[in-house]
């Protein structure tokens, strides 16, 4: 078996498929962070005064935090980030006004094609409207007209600030205030763009909304800000997927995502994250420090987070739900795969405030190579959250004897009618399962893929069709060869 193993290991040394850089003329603000940088970003985006003020307030708060340095409680290690060595704004110079795809810069289209997201394909076949964020500015938004007929607003954050200031003013920072944490403060100060979506009362969004983030231009930290609001009875399913070109120096990505679900509204937020994880020696790779939080404001509202995390050198991410409304539901389904020197510290927070609130957490961690994978979660049941119910399952799979898998669940219950269950297991792929499949003539590699995919099934089932296929493919690419 050992010879087979080494074959398998060779396969692990798989190059990052999406490593390339697109040459498009860029509009870049010089490196470094100061009040001036923020003023420039705000001015370039032609933002109203209140937005700039909000950014500056966040920046001032961040400065007070900066004295105490970045948070260090997560189970990850990395050299300190030099926040003065980051380009905070980079936008393609010609922002084309587009109605059809033909007008898109062919170079850009090629990039998307390489990524496997042909806009034409998507538009024609799958009916997915794509707000493709190319570096920091939205380049193209499709299906917008169709959506606006239903009253759905789906546009870039910068557009929304111009056209729907009342909504932005009302909701931005209402779930993740700039005082929330170090990176949320940084993001609030310098965010460049992102997506905005508003689903009006009683509208069911007829298609899966999606945005593909790309990180381009060497040394650009991407600070995305996403805000999704589903008004009473609204429904939206939102996809976020990421790939980034190969690069040597570490890149910082500190996004903020805010979801707000009113009475009877449902938001499904799915992520496939496949940023450059660094090379085999752990050099390079993206730092992914994200704050994602959803508020179930209304009664009977529901927020579902589904994530497949395969990329990034370091992932530091806890999509959370604040279950304020009575009978509201929060769900978190996650597959996190780490290989080589990757580090992931990810999980969720379920804060039960309303009565009869329910939450489900299913987390599947897979560690291979020299990587470390941690689940960190909080389930908190407040005094008044009668009949709260939580079920948590977090499993870890270890592939190879030099990786680590860790579980740090926090459970805080202050209501006696709560029912909270937590289960966790850690193991390696069962020899007997492998043997069974091999015995039936299935190659080692395929057998492992089969087992790992089966292991992740509970999460993949929650992904929209288009994503589920991609996720499975990603998983086998990430793990290829590391198995033994």
């Amino acid at each position: 078996m050992s010879t087979e193993l080494s074959n398998v290991e060779e396969l692990a040394i798989k190059d990052y498929k999406y490593g390339f850089q697109t040459d498009i003329e860029m509009d870049i603000v010089p490196k470094g962070l100061s009040e001036d940088t923020i003023r420039i970003i705000s001015a370039k985006k032609n933002e109203p005064e209140w937005m700039l003020e909000w950014r500056l307030k966040a920046y001032k708060h961040w400065l007070t935090l900066h004295n105490s340095k970045e948070p260090t409680w997560a189970n990850i290690t990395y050299p300190a980030v030099d926040f003065q060595d980051i380009i905070y704004y980079a936008a393609p110079k010609h922002k084309p006004e587009l109605k059809s795809l033909d007008e898109v810069d062919p170079e850009l289209l090629k990039t998307f094609e390489k990524l496997g997201i042909s806009l034409q394909e998507q538009k024609r076949l799958s009916g997915v409207a794509v707000d493709a964020v190319f570096d920091s500015v939205s380049v193209t938004t499709t299906f917008k007209a169709e959506l606006s007929k239903l009253g759905i607003i789906f546009c870039s954050m910068s557009e929304a600030i111009q056209e729907h200031p009342e909504l932005i003013k009302k909701y931005i920072g209402s779930v993740v205030p700039y005082t929330d944490n170090f990176y949320a403060a940084l993001n609030s100060a310098v965010f460049t763009d992102g997506s905005f979506c508003y689903i009006p009362k009683g509208v069911r969004c007829p298609m899966e909304l999606s945005t593909y983030f790309r990180i381009n231009t060497s040394g650009t930290g991407q600070f995305e800000r996403t805000l999704l609001i589903a008004d009473e009875g609204g429904y939206v399913s939102y996809l976020e997927g990421c790939t980034a070109p190969m690069r040597d120096e570490n890149q910082l990505h500190a996004a903020v995502v805010e979801l707000i679900a009113m009475d009877d509204a449902t938001i499904k937020y799915s992520t496939v994250q496949n940023w450059y994880p660094g090379d085999k020696e752990g050099k390079g790779g993206i730092y992914n420090f994200v704050t994602k939080r959803g508020a179930c404001r209304g009664n009977n509202s529901k927020i579902t987070w589904t994530q497949v995390e395969t990329g990034s050198a370091i992932t530091w991410k806890y999509p959370s739900c604040i279950l304020q409304g009575d009978n509201s539901v929060g769900e978190f389904y996650s597959v996190a795969v780490t290989n080589n020197h990757q580090q992931a510290d990810t999980g969720t927070k379920m804060i039960h405030l309303g009565k009869n609130t329910k939450s489900t957490i299913v987390s599947k961690g897979i560690s291979a190579g020299l990587s470390n994978n941690s689940y960190r979660g909080l389930v908190k049941v407040h005094k008044n959250a009668d009949n709260a119910r939580n079920f948590t399952q977090c499993d870890s799979l270890l592939i190879g004897d030099r990786c680590g898998a860790h579980t740090f669940p926090y459970i805080e219950v202050s209501n006696h009618s709560a029912k909270v269950e937590h289960e966790a297991t850690t193991s390696k792929i069962g020899e007997d399962q492998l043997f069974y499949l091999r015995q039936r003539g299935i190659a080692q590699e395929d057998a492992i893929n089969l087992i790992v995919n089966g292991y992740c099934k509970d999460v993949f089932r929650e992904l929209p069709m288009e994503f589920a296929v991609e996720a499975q493919k990603l998983l086998s690419i990430s793990l290829e060869g590391s198995v033994g």
Partner: protein, 434 residues
Amino acid sequence: MDNSQSKNKFISAFNNVEERMNGESKSPFHQLRKAAIKKFDELDFPTVKNEDWKYTNIAPILKHDFITSADVKTNKKAIEQFLIPGLKASLIVFVNGSYSKELSHITKQAAGIRIENLDALLKNEPELVMQYFGRFAGIDNGFTALNTAFAKEGTVIIVPDNTEVDGHIHILNLSGASGKNLISQPRNIIVAGKNSRVKIIESYHSLSEEENFTNTVNEVSVGDNSYVEIYRLQRENMKSFHVNRTQARLGKNSIFTHYSVTLGGSIVRNDTNILLDDEHSTGNLYGLYLTEGSQHVDNHTLIDHAKPNCQSNEMYKGVLNDSSRGVFNGKVFVREDAQKTNAYQSNKAILLSDTAVIDTKPQLEIYADDVKCSHGAAIGQLDDEAVFYLRSRGIGEEMAKTVLIRAFANDIFETIENEVLHDHLNHLVHEKLK
């Protein structure tokens, strides 16, 4: 008093004790104490900002001005209520941290078995103490530092190779004097040689209704092929403060079983840490806590799998009533080389009232791949249907609830082989539930 005042008080108390020493201040053992007080000065008392003390605020403990000794009259008859009826045991009694020769009674043991008071051993055979003292419990928090700095009294049990201790050894700790707040800091050392066997009960009781503070450190070494069993029974009054740390190292093929039963105390913090330091060793940690009023019970466990082929089982259960608060933090650590590890952890709690709070944190940190580790945590209340079932058979509601809680607690007790001990603990739970 706040933390820093309290800290300074302990440091000046140390200096006072030191001044009154004659030749002893030069002894190697006292150097250990001196190093410990220095460490204590650095570490200070933990605050809730410390992740390990996140849910337990010890400030109420430090508000009191504790004294170390008081004149207490007690006799064999008076302490009978604290004994385990029908159990064959050697009895070692400490009253407010001082060994009481009159009350203690050590049964005849095989040659070579030492069951002694630390203070006496320090005078007669300091080298022997130095051989084991501080070897397992590293000074990594303020309380252990404090205990080490004031280490004087406690029980030393040394079991030589191929020997079994006859019956149980019951270490009875009594504290309190009416109108006074007392502190006692027992330091127990238990060393089981190769192929030996020893069973120990450490119990804590109050002699008064006042706030007393007990800060215990136990160091346990389990030799190859040996078996060590410890029962920690906490029955102090509802105002008492109790910090207890047990640190055990397990040798090859050895078994260490620890029971922690917490019924009394106002703020109780138990740290039970075991190091599986050689192959094929097994650690069993069982715990039960029943709380009411405003009790706060914090159980911390750490199971460190350092070597391959070891096993650990852990089960902690809690029943919380009124506005009491429970904390469970169980960490299983599997080091890189510890392949073929089998670790199982479960912790369950029942909340009986609206104001009871439970915070639990079961952690797994795993660096080896060929392992089977699992943990489960569940928090809930008594099953309504089960209560209904019992009631429909004519059992009153109170009784039905008691039956169910006892059944819940019984999972812990049914692993106890000694019938006398089993019945006694069961009886205590029953009494507490009344």
